[in-house]
Each structure stands twice: as C-alpha cells, then as structure tokens.
Amino acid sequence: MGKYWTIFIISLKDTFHYRNRILSNMVMLLFRVGILVFLYSYAFKYVGGEVNNINFQITIWSIGFYFVLLSLNMRRVSQTIKRDVQTGDVEVLLNKPYNYLLYSILTQFAKGIPNILTTAPAMLLVLIIFIGRPQIAGNMEWFLYFGIIAVLSIVLSFIAYTFIGTIAFWLQDSDAVYWLYDKSVMVLGGAYIPVALFPHSIKLLSEYSPMGAMMFITHAAYPNFNTYALRLISTQVVWIIIMSLALMVLFNFARRKVDINGG
C-alpha cells in the first residue's frame, strides 16, 4: 500500500505546481454554471416558475453538484491509458511492481484533487449568494447519503472510464468509444438539464444505467432525495461490482495483447 500512497502524493504535489491550470479550470466551470443560471432563470420565468415540480433553485443546485464532481476529471484516466498504449509507455509501466490500472487511477485522482478543492467551495459560495440555499432536507440522514453516493460515484466513474481506456489495447485510438460513453454520462447524468425534467423512459434509463449512476449526486438537490437514496446507492453498488469484474477480465486479456509501439 505504501507505494500507492507514494504514487498518489507525488502526483498530487506535481499537480499543485500548475496553478494556471487549476485556476482556469475553476473559472471555466463557474462560468459554465453561471451561464446556465442566467438561462434557466429566464426559462423558468417564461413558463411561470415550475416544471414537473422542479423549480429554478433545484435545477441549478443539481447542475452545480454535477459540475463539482466533474471537476475531479475522472474521465481523463481513459485518455491517459490510451496515450500510454499509443506511445508504447504501457509496456514499461506493465512491468513495474504495481498494478497498472490502480497506478493510472490514483495518478488521475491526485490530479483532480486540487481542482475539486478549489471548485467546490467557490461553487458553493457563488450558488448560495446568487441562488440561495438548496431546498434539501439538510439533516444527518441527507449528509450521510450524500457522502456515500459521492464516494460511490467517484469509484464507479474511475472503474468505468478505466474500462473505456483499456479498450485502447485493441483499438489503439479509443476516442470514438470514449466520446460515446462520455456523452451518455453527460446526457443521462443531468449535466445541462436535470434528470427530473427528462421524459419518463429516459428518466428510468438514467436511474438504472451505469452512466446515470455515475452522477447520482445530482439527485441530492431534490427535496425527496432521502426517500429513494438507498435505491440509488444499491444501483451504484451493483454497477461497481459488474464493471469491476468486467474490467478485471478485460485487463487480463489486454495484458496478453500488448502491442509494442516502440515508445
């Protein structure tokens, strides 16, 4: 375990050096949410205040939670693996005395920490000032469910994107698969429009698919979140188990299929 902790710390320290990147990522995410604040403010006024019992505040907090989690940049693990395969570095990394997948995940997780540490407080502050407090239960039960779903979202995201990245062992350029999966997460996760505003069939797909499960954190903005949080948690656990097994099988095949690109 010590070596993985060292990998994590080195990567974290390295990322903190790039302050311009951290700052620009934070500004860009705040800008994205800021634009959506203006747009939805107008849209809800236009329709008279509520759609499907969802109002402006709930919508913006839901989108805010999405972008805070997005700031961890978990999806980049897929691009990192693809790049390692294309450059040939993967052969060297596979020979190291650590698990390559865990190494990739921990490195990327460390790179995302500075982003979320800057974005989350800034987003919280800006939303509270301009939108007001979220309409949530706000009790211990809510915080417990929120914490569990956040952790499970992060775990599931890393496993899923690592799975996508591992496909590069066969395709070399796995961008097409990555885009397809990533955009499914964007749609079903409630990036620009809350899940509660989806047509019924798409809402079901969002609540039971791995792409939607990765972003269940957005549901924390809904007033009735506590009543179905356990269902969300169990869905995430099921997908974590399925995706982990699939990843282990895929990676075992991938190790046998390493092409040397002379990196």
Partner: protein, 270 residues
C-alpha cells in the same frame, strides 16, 4: 501583385490542407472511427436541448426545428473552421513542441500558416454531422429560397469568427509557458454558449455574447437570420467577422513579438 500574392497564399494553404488530409487518411480505420465517433458524440447536444424543449416548450420562438438547425450549424461551422484550420487552436501545443520556429521561418502569412498546419479528423465528423443536421433543420423550418441563400452566406463569416476565436484563445501561449489547458478553457468560454438556444439569451446577456464574446454569431444568430430573413443581422455578422479577424491578426502579431525560441527542435508532418 496583391492578387498574385493572395492567390499564392491560397494555393499554398490548399496544398498544406491536402497533405494533412492524406497523412490523416493513411490510418483508414482510425480515420473512419474518429469521424463516425464524433458524429455520434454530437447527437448528445441535440438530445439535451430537445429534452429542454420537451420540458419548457418553445421559448421565444425556439422550438425543436430551431434547435436542430442550431446544433447543425454549430457543428458545421466548427468543422469547417477546425477541420482544416486546426492549427489555430493548437498553437500552444505547436509552441510547446518546438514546431513554431519552423512555421515562423516559413515565407507564408503567419495567420494562414498556423491555421493550416494541422488537420483535426474529428472536426471532419463535425462537418458531415452538421451538414446532415442543417439539411434536416432546413426541412423542418421549411426554408424559402431566400432563407436558403442566407443560410449558405452566413456560414463563411461564422466560420471565420470561430477560427479567429481559436487564434485569440491560443495566443495566450505567447504569455504563459503552460498554456494548453488555459487556452482550451478560454476557447470553451467562447464556444460553450454557442450551443445553447438563442431564445434564452435576452437583454444584457445577449449583448455580452454578441459583442464581447461573439458566441451567438456561430450558432444562434445564423439560425435567427434564416428564420426571420434578417438582412441587417446578416450584414452585422459579416462586419463582426472582419472585426474579429483584425483583432486576431493584431493579437497574433503582438504575441509573436513576445515569443522566444527555446531552441527545441520538433518534427512536423508538413
């Protein structure tokens, strides 16, 4: 003499683009996968805003037909600008990898030479997807011959604005050493709002995204020009294209004066 120089520049640019396209198409499977993948990728924005339209209805005349046309035009304009002019956004990468010295020494106009130095295969997918969606949008909007003419004529200035925004965002590389991500985020500030339905932009917000950050000119404004057969806004679009070209040229020339070669020798395909 001026005409001959312009002709030479255009011929050189076309030659570079053809060479880049041939190089990219060598890996046929990857080439095809990138194009098809990007086309599927772009569907997500159409789906999102159609869901929005389903939930909120038409807002200020923006219904499903306008949303389809918006996404089609935005993709087509992006594809045209960066399919063959990808170098405009890749300037930080070009500088970082030591290839800029070669470009600087080239006797061609720097603005054009930088732009055509790279080809982005996925942007060709954007272009094809955009073309298909524009045709569908035109059918849904039941465009007249005049509207069709406005549609075709709005694409060049919008593409030029898009290209110029790429250059402007990338010019940060002359000031910062680690500029790739910063440049990408600056471009995202411009490009992101261009995908949102124009009916939601009103008042000061509309002014900001027309005249300060010209996002609406590469998405919503062309749609409204077509829908309303708005000649005044059409002329304004061409004016803004010229204005932002001058801004991009000025920033590029000023930025080059800050440039210091690190003597890193990088390989380039063309």
């Amino acid at each position: 003499m001026v005409v001959k120089n312009i002709r030479t520049e255009i011929l050189a640019a076309v030659a570079f683009m053809r060479a880049n396209l041939k190089a990219a198409a060598e890996l046929r499977t990857a080439f095809a996968l990138q194009i098809i993948g990007m086309m599927i990728n772009n569907m997500s924005f159409v789906i999102i805003w159609l869901f929005f339209s389903h939930a909120f209805g038409a807002v200020n005349g923006w219904g499903p037909a306008e949303i389809v046309m918006l996404d089609g035009l935005a993709a087509l304009i992006f594809g045209i600008a960066f399919g063959f002019g990808s170098g405009a956004r890749s300037l930080p990468d070009i500088i970082h990898n030591g290839v800029f010295d070669n470009i600087l020494l080239n006797p061609r106009i720097l603005y054009i030479r930088i732009s055509v130095s790279r080809l982005e295969v996925s942007a060709l997918g954007d272009m094809i997807f955009g073309l298909i969606l524009v045709v569908i949008g035109a059918v849904m909007m039941e465009v007249s011959p005049l509207q069709f003419l406005l549609l075709i004529s709005s694409i060049p200035p919008a593409s030029l604005i898009m290209l110029n925004m790429g250059i402007i965002a990338s010019s940060i590389a002359f000031l910062l050493t680690d500029a790739m991500e910063v440049s990408r985020n600056i471009f995202e500030i411009f490009f992101g709002p261009s995908l949102y339905p124009g009916g939601l932009f009103q008042g000061n917000l509309r002014f900001f995204f027309m005249f300060v950050v010209p996002s609406l000119f590469v998405g919503a404004i062309p749609v409204e020009i077509i829908r309303d057969s708005d000649i005044k806004t059409f002329i304004l679009t061409w004016t803004m294209a010229i204005f932002w070209t001058l801004v991009a040229l000025t920033l590029l020339n000023k930025g080059v004066k800050y440039y210091e070669s690190s003597n890193l020798i990088g390989a380039r395909a063309v």
